[in-house]
């Protein structure tokens, strides 16, 4: 194809400015509907569930609002956002490459253990700013280090990363526990925990929100820039879409996979540092908040877009902050929030499916629905 025809085709393909705007608006609206409807449906289904459990759904959701947003409690929600956003950034990177880093719990806890192990001494001996930077980098490095083995196995031998990251996660959780009981143990208490930090991350002036949130927003911006404005991000996306095509283009898959894993683990490590240095102050054995499990749905709802994940994480932070108290008021286990998150995920996949069917112009009923009712393991037909 000559350059001339190519330009003409591009000119033809490019719609007039007015139409672009409507098209873009339509697409934004579509994305908005697809993101918000699952959340709304999940809340509605959750309300039904609450009714079935004999609780008052409107009061429950009202409590979430009152304890997650009103009377300055939005600041508590904002504090929770910091680690959530960092984990979301890490997961976005690796999921874009269509690789599953499911070892975030181990990466997080190891980072947290090291930060709370070295933190107390470091913040006393070194200027606070320097100590904080060092601790953040340390946690990030540990998180990244914990992805090296799955990354290399995946890149070199194609070993399934789901199984390797899960195993590394189990090892990481145990190792963190060993560290807390052993070298990092606070000798002044018989409890298996580390010494409490004497100085924490400073707050943003005028608020109760620590600066870890700014770090998190910074990380989100960096990840978004890397993914959408650099050739590295493009290569990552190509690999995610079609590894074979990527290899054909001359992309160094081995390196790309390893770097994506390292970035992902680094972000998860930063999340641990932000949580320990900004909120927790120490760590005890058996503490495993498993933030990543509940973050995954929102990373998907945001369609692996690092900026779009922010409002979802904000929403979830409010729900989890307010939800703790709302659940306590309703005499319900806080794990009810897990049900909500699970429901959001289920509805999201269904909405996504309906949207795809509509685009394809196909019927909403699949052939599979009809076929599945046929006999089990039907034998070959007699011809």
């Amino acid at each position: 194809m000559s350059t001339e025809t190519a330009t003409r085709e591009t000119a033809l393909a490019a719609p007039r400015p007015g139409r672009t705007r409507t098209a873009r608006a339509g697409r934004t609206l579509d994305a908005l509907i697809r993101s918000i409807v699952p959340v709304a449906l999940a809340l509605a289904a959750g309300a039904l569930l609450l009714l079935a459990l004999g609780r008052h759904p409107i009061k429950f959701y009202g409590d979430i609002w009152a304890n997650g947003i009103e009377n300055g409690s939005w600041q508590d929600s904002a504090v929770r956002m910091a680690p959530f956003l960092l984990i979301a950034a890490g997961l976005t990177v690796i999921f874009r490459a269509n690789i599953w880093n499911l070892g975030y719990n181990g990466q997080f806890l190891l980072g947290a253990a090291l930060v709370s192990g070295y933190g107390p001494r470091l913040v006393d001996d070194v200027p606070l700013a320097l100590a904080m930077v060092v601790l953040f980098l340390l946690a990030g490095a540990v998180g990244a280090l914990w992805t090296v083995i799955p990354a290399v196995l995946k890149a070199r031998y194609g070993t399934n990363e789901i199984i390797t990251t899960l195993m590394m996660s189990f090892i990481g959780i145990d190792l963190a526990s060993i560290l807390i009981k052993g070298p990092f143990h606070d000798s002044t208490t018989p409890l298996p925990q580390t010494a409490v930090l004497s100085k924490m991350l400073p707050n943003i002036p005028g608020t109760r929100i620590h600066v870890g949130l700014l770090v998190a927003f910074g990380a989100i911006l960096v990840v978004h820039y890397m993914l959408t404005r650099t050739s590295w991000g493009l290569r990552l996306q190509i690999m995610g879409a079609n590894p074979r095509a990527a290899r054909h283009f001359g992309i160094d898959l081995t390196r790309l996979i390893i770097v994506a894993f390292l970035v992902s683990g680094f972000m998860v490590g930063l999340a641990a540092a932000a949580d320990i240095l900004g909120l927790q102050g120490y760590i005890r054995t058996g503490w495993n908040p498993a933030y990543g499990d509940t973050i995954i749905p929102f990373v998907f709802l945001a369609r692996l877009n690092a900026l779009a994940v922010v409002p979802f994480i904000a929403f979830f932070s409010v729900v989890s902050t307010g939800g703790d108290l709302a659940a306590a008021n309703a005499n319900l286990s806080t794990n009810f929030l897990l049900v909500l998150v699970g429901l959001i995920l289920l509805f999201m996949t269904v909405i996504e499916y309906l949207g795809r069917r509509r685009e394809l112009g196909a019927s909403y009923l699949t052939p599979g629905l009809r076929q599945a009712l046929r006999g089990p393991l039907v034998r070959r037909r007699q011809s």
Partner: protein, 320 residues
């Protein structure tokens, strides 16, 4: 010194194996289920959630029905119910298996905790000790008949354990030399071929996922009834994920699943036994040993854990 302790007694070693069996049987049931669905090309990440609902239903059944068999039946039913989501969303509609699996795990963790807390948070009832069936003659072997900490002696296990081991053998035979096994494998290896042969890929995979749910539910129920003797929040502690690892390591072979499950079961139960024997080894060290060993083996031999090519890919007729 280790030499002086109880470690070198035969009772200790029979206890290790018996403890491994007790902790490994839930893993075995669940991993056998995962092996079935992986063969058929469905990666079931929701195993943890299915085990948990199975454990809770099993606990309910055993508590109210006063019989472990009611409990097992309840566990199976709950597991099947949970897997119905997977069947409809992943197999029939072809939605992302990993996302749906994570959703099932989260919802399962949440709902069991909510229900347990709202019904039993103040009482936290325990289940009685379940009956075991000694194998005639074998249980009279002197040394093998005793264990250190009251675990079921090696040759005197609950009936369901024998049934489970039998199931593994049956599955191995089914996979290797029956039409059903062939269809299952085709659904995971090359669904187009199965479809062309006139067998419904969707139906094959649906039944495989239902079987997985039933086995995961049974595994959870056994864990609650025989293992912990009651339910707690997150009682499975990641065993669903362990089962996925086991099924992949065993490459979907049932007898391999049995061996790996026993190994992981020993790792789960060994630290308690070591303590009784007077050795204070941190439970975390023992717990992470099998994982570390497998990672080391993977690095040394760089062996690809074999997975069916169509794993986690929805089958759409005529696509591609």
């Amino acid at each position: 010194m280790i030499v002086a302790s109880q470690v070198w007694t035969q009772v200790f070693w029979t206890s290790v194996i018996a403890g491994g069996l007790l902790a490994g049987v839930p893993l075995m049931f669940t991993a056998l289920g995962e092996a079935i669905s992986e063969r058929a090309g469905v990666l079931n990440i929701g195993l943890e959630g299915m085990m948990l609902v199975g454990a809770y239903a099993g606990f309910l059944g055993a508590y109210y029905g006063h019989s472990m068999w009611v409990g097992y039946a309840g566990g199976i039913a709950a597991g099947v119910l949970a897997s119905c989501f997977m069947v409809v969303l992943c197999v029939w509609l072809g939605l992302d298996q990993i996302v749906v699996g994570i959703a099932i795990t989260l919802a399962g963790e949440g709902i069991t905790s909510v229900l347990y807390q709202s019904q039993f948070s103040s009482t936290q009832p325990r289940l009685g000790r379940i009956t075991t069936d000694p194998i005639p003659l074998l249980d009279r072997i002197p040394v093998l008949g005793k264990t250190l900490n009251g675990e079921f002696p090696l040759f005197s296990q609950p009936l369901i354990v024998y049934l489970g081991l039998g199931l593994a053998v049956v599955l191995a035979w089914l996979f290797r030399s029956s039409n059903i096994g062939l269809n299952l494998r085709a659904a995971g290896e090359k669904p187009e071929a199965l479809d062309a042969a006139g067998v419904s890929v969707v139906a094959t995979r649906s039944y495989a996922v239902l079987a997985t749910g039933a086995l995961a539910g049974l595994g959870g129920a056994y864990l609650a009834i025989a293992g912990t003797g009651g339910f707690q929040d997150f009682v499975t502690q990641g065993q669903g994920y362990m089962a996925i690892v086991i099924a992949m390591l065993a490459r979907g072979r049932p007898l391999g699943v049995v061996v790996f499950s026993l190994m992981f079961g020993i790792a789960l139960s060994l630290s308690g036994l070591l303590q009784i024997a007077g050795i204070n080894l941190s439970p975390e060290v023992v717990h992470m040993l099998p994982f570390a060993g497998i990672i080391a083996a993977l690095m040394l031999f760089a062996r690809r854990a074999y997975l069916p090519p169509a794993l986690a890919l929805p089958y759409v007729r005529g696509a591609r």
